[in-house]
Amino acid sequence: MKEILDVRGLTKKFKLNKKQQASKSISTPYFKAVDDVSFKSYEGEVFGLLGPNGAGKTTTMRMIATLINASEGDAIVNGHSIVKKPLEVRRNIGFLTNELKLDEFFTPNFHFDFFADLRGIPKDVAASRKKALFDKFGLGPYADVKIGKLSQGNKQKASLAISIVHDPAIVIFDEPTNGLDVVTAKVVMDFLVDLKERGKSVILSTHIFGLLENLCDRVGIIINGKMVACDTVPNLAGEKSLEQMFFDIYRETTKEAV
């Protein structure tokens, strides 16, 4: 399988003022949200990132998507460095969170065309991609309905279609099913499977163990900013369930009772 993503020692430090230092009981003037995280992902693979809130999953994903800068380390996305070629990286990445982040005053049609324009996609290419994606998601009848008037499921379908307007090699999903009803969550899961089958590399962050077990080829566990384990689900969990394995690792790493 072709390597699509190579994360090499990514580290993110956030500056702290004295008050923040005191409240977090940290002696350094910065806080390491992500600490030397490395992993790879390949085409046609779903890679899951698992960890508690504040573990550093979203920060890691934002660094890969070039939304924020890495303090140390690098990530190579489809051959392009996030440090040296952020624009090239953005051309190769789709990024979506559970929150829709689409302006409710626009229609799916307008949004799709707008993002296609922003990404410099030729009009004919954008039109054929839009037709294919809208047909796939059954969005045709709602293409000219404002996002604010769509059902939650159709909103999510619209944002999924728009996130891959540029046909990226790698798609990053940060908690894509959080807060969604079961029907809409199923839409997202089917979409992830479809991406995988089309040879895309998918990076998925979620708290839902079932989703990771069913969808992910490999899982990386991040706790306190560090990648503490990374392997296939069977290799990681062995005889245990993924959930049991995670809490064992969490207890061991943090020395906290769960």
């Binding site: 939304l67 689409l102 302006d103 005053f105 626009f106 307008f110 707008f114 410099g120 404002k146």
Partner: protein, 403 residues
Amino acid sequence: MRNVTLAVMKKEIVRIFNDRKLLFAAVILPGILIFAVMSATGMMNEMLLGVDEDHIYEVHAVNMPESIGTMLAQDGMRINIVPANMADTERIREDIADQNTDLLVVFPADFDAVVADFDPLTATVLAPNVEVWSNSARNSSAEARNLVMGVITMYHHSLTHRFSINLPSDAAPDGNFDLASAADIMAMLLGMLLPMMFILFIFTGCQSLVPESVAGEKERGTLGTLLVTTASRQQMALGKILGLSFFALLGALGSFVGLMFSMENMVPGMDDVMGSASIMDIFSVADLVIIFLIAISLSLFFVALLSVLSTYSKSVKEANAITTPLTLFIMVGAMGGGLVSGFDSAIFHMIPIFNSSLAITALINSEATMINNLITIGSNLLFAGILTAIVAAMFSSEKIVFD
């Protein structure tokens, strides 16, 4: 590059057109409000300071001499003279204090004769005294006092008449010696109001649009969705600022129309003074083009300025809280040009807001120079450009966008 700017600009324009509440609040409402507020102010002024046209002033007079009584009884004075005795004066004063009647005038007995006999050069006593009692808190009382004092003063002057002032002549058959044209009067009134109103309207138009569009986008998370694309921050910032400026300008135009329609209502009696004067008597087409260009450059400047503050804010609420106090500074700058004189040096035309106030005042007074107008427009655009670059840099700041 141009496509991205145009795409973002189009998005902003479509977004506001689709948000009917925002469109109404930012573009249509300011003009309606200006008209309503200015007209209401005029009506209140009239109600507070004016007197009903049908009101007959009730003037109680003790020992009213025939000479003055005849003058007060003329048509158009609308005065009802009520003869009174000295014994009634205390009661009448109480009535005036209670705002039940208008005026009390007390003349010495045989006023005309006493005045005729009085010689200031040889007199050993004070000149005859006339008492005029009124209540300035009652409009009709104050107005009656003005009328009666006017007549008494005229009578007083007639006693020592040596020369006249401004009697009708061939050059001024109607006795009007004021050479100001209706357009001059309109220019004077506009000069006091227009620069300040013009600048404030543009600012308030921007203020109703920018926080919602910039801080709102940040608050809703849609800014992050934009930033993950390949479009440059500079292009996005420019597209946003151009799109929002378009609506700010529409809002300012609506406010301007509202102001023009409310002018007559704003100042009671203004239509009598101005006659048929219109705005085209003051401004040439070239002047209006300059004003339009100033409006465009100022809209861009305000949108860029508010975009910086809104990008810094975490929410629309915070953005509004930060930008509201700014109105005071804008107001000072906007008033400045109309109040000061001698600030025609180019350097003052480089100071945003103040420069626009100076330039419009100069246009109204026909003192504008092309170089100062160009410096004003250029300076506004330059500062707008600098602020746009700052917005772009802020869009690149992870602390500002994601904090």
